[in-house]
């Protein structure tokens, strides 16, 4: 350990408590993270698109039985679902007790029925942003298409009209302005992953950069 002279840091608020193994919610601060409080930093690398709900669509294709595109209205006909919990950004802020509304990704995947050979997905945005995820991280009630934050429409700079939400991974995996998922039988690095970031990005194992 390389102690920095004279550095004490903020009062220690929360212990690291990566529970969650038996399905219990994971709470607390993952290693190397800090509590951003009421701040919600924006870190997208591209121009925020002017995308209206009427223009928004969401598609799942690739290794699935029935590829399908949903419009805003069709997506809203699926059963609603809420995520209330924490989010963690690789730039080292975490945000506690956030509340997103949308639809569980399971509801979309149940319609398209991924093939048994599908192991990974590339999520892509209406801007062309991409990020890769193991399919297992997108199923089982752990991922959402979210269009509400705190009961309000999701702001454009935070990915509105709708973003992918995979809160148990670093937040760059939760693609803003989500346009679709391509189901693949292999892992294919997305935008940040090609730029040196970790393929999976589990904050509890501090998988920030490839090689971590």
């Amino acid at each position: 350990m390389n102690v920095t002279r004279g550095f004490t840091g903020r009062p220690r608020v929360l212990p690291h408590s990566p529970k969650g193994v038996g399905g219990a919610p994971i709470t607390g601060l993952p290693p190397g993270q800090y509590d951003a409080g009421d701040d919600w930093p924006v870190l997208s690398a591209e121009v925020t698109p002017d995308l209206t709900p009427a223009e928004w669509t969401f598609r799942i294709d690739g290794l699935v039985e029935e590829p399908r595109t949903w419009t805003w209205k069709q997506a809203h006909e699926l059963p609603g679902s809420v995520y209330a919990g924490d989010i963690h950004c690789v730039t080292s802020w975490s945000k506690f007790g956030v509340r997103f509304g949308g639809v569980s990704l399971d509801a979309f995947l149940d319609v398209v029925r991924p093939h048994g050979s599908g192991t990974h997905a590339v999520a892509y945005s209406h801007t062309g942003y991409t990020t890769n995820l193991p399919l297992a991280d997108l199923t089982g009630g752990r991922a959402w298409i979210a269009w509400e934050y705190d009961g309000e429409p999701l702001a454009a700079e935070h990915g509105g009209p709708a973003r992918l939400l995979v809160p148990h991974l670093y937040f760059w995996k939760s693609a803003k302005w989500i346009a679709g998922l391509r189901i693949l039988d292999h892992d294919e690095p997305g935008f940040w992953e090609q730029n040196g970031y970790h393929a999976r990005g589990n904050p509890w194992e501090e998988q920030r950069y490839s090689g971590d």
Partner: protein
């Protein structure tokens, strides 16, 4: 399926260079060798990093401080210095009120102190010095852009480069003494006598986009999220293609 997936639309093609896995993962000790005041709220910290792998202008690193109970705080910082083989790099930090890491740098740090860094990181915002570069920054957002300006100057590059930099007032303008003809400062609260006060506006961007160099500009925008939104919208409105705008937001 071997052919790789490309989404139907794409913004700025990723990565100007590949990021090395070994340098991105390895924490290295960096020793502060010099502290230079830039403005009342910003100072430059020169660090000796003997095994620094080198960087491209525009890249950043991750920096961590460790308390004696093992608690760590880590933040990203852009590299201010141009690439060279001195074994040193420079960072310029704003003193953020109540800031954990910038507070330590501005109130405790002195030459000889050691911190840890890993990087360089992210090839997306890097500028190898190849394409004409239109740089727009505000506050400490000018830091990665300054690395590009310095690189351009040190190497005597003749590829066009322009910098539009916004600061609250002349005394808050980081690197004020270093700018040359490539730079236009814009002051938002107070300006030298006879100069206008206000945000970067369409009127600043239009003349730059009018002098299109061959191949067009690669635009690099850096600063707070609010500034990045404002500046990138101005660029789009002035006709800069969305896929030629790279944005680094400090959060």
């Amino acid at each position: 399926m071997t052919e790789s997936f490309t989404p139907p639309t794409r913004f700025a093609v990723p990565g100007r260079i590949a990021v090395s896995e070994s340098t991105a993962t390895l924490w290295q000790t960096a020793t502060i060798t010099e502290i230079r005041r830039e403005t009342p709220h910003a100072a430059t910290f020169r660090l000796a990093v003997p095994r620094w792998a080198g960087h491209l202008p525009g890249q950043h690193l991750m920096l961590r401080l460790t308390a004696d109970d093992g608690y760590v705080a880590q933040r990203h910082y852009s590299i201010a210095s141009a690439p060279d083989d001195s074994g040193h790099i420079e960072l310029t930090l704003d003193h953020v009120a109540g800031g954990e890491v910038s507070g330590w740098f501005h109130t405790v740090a002195k030459p000889g102190d050691e911190v840890e860094v890993r990087g360089p990181l992210s090839g997306f915002f890097a500028w190898p010095g190849d394409r004409p570069a239109l740089l727009i920054g505000a506050g400490s957002g000018v830091v990665p852009l300054m690395s590009m300006v310095r690189h351009h100057r040190v190497r005597g590059l003749d590829v066009p480069l322009r910098l539009l930099v916004s600061a609250r007032g002349p005394e808050e303008l980081i690197y004020a003494r270093e700018y040359g003809a490539e730079t236009t400062p814009v002051f938002t609260r107070s300006a030298p006598r006879g100069e206008p006060v206000g945000r970067i506006a369409a009127a600043h961007v239009a003349p730059l986009l009018a002098e299109q160099p061959s191949g067009g500009w690669e635009a690099y925008v850096c600063g707070s999220n609010g500034f990045a939104e404002h500046a990138s919208r101005l660029l789009v409105a002035a006709g800069q293609p969305v896929d030629r705008i790279r944005i680094e937001r400090f959060g």
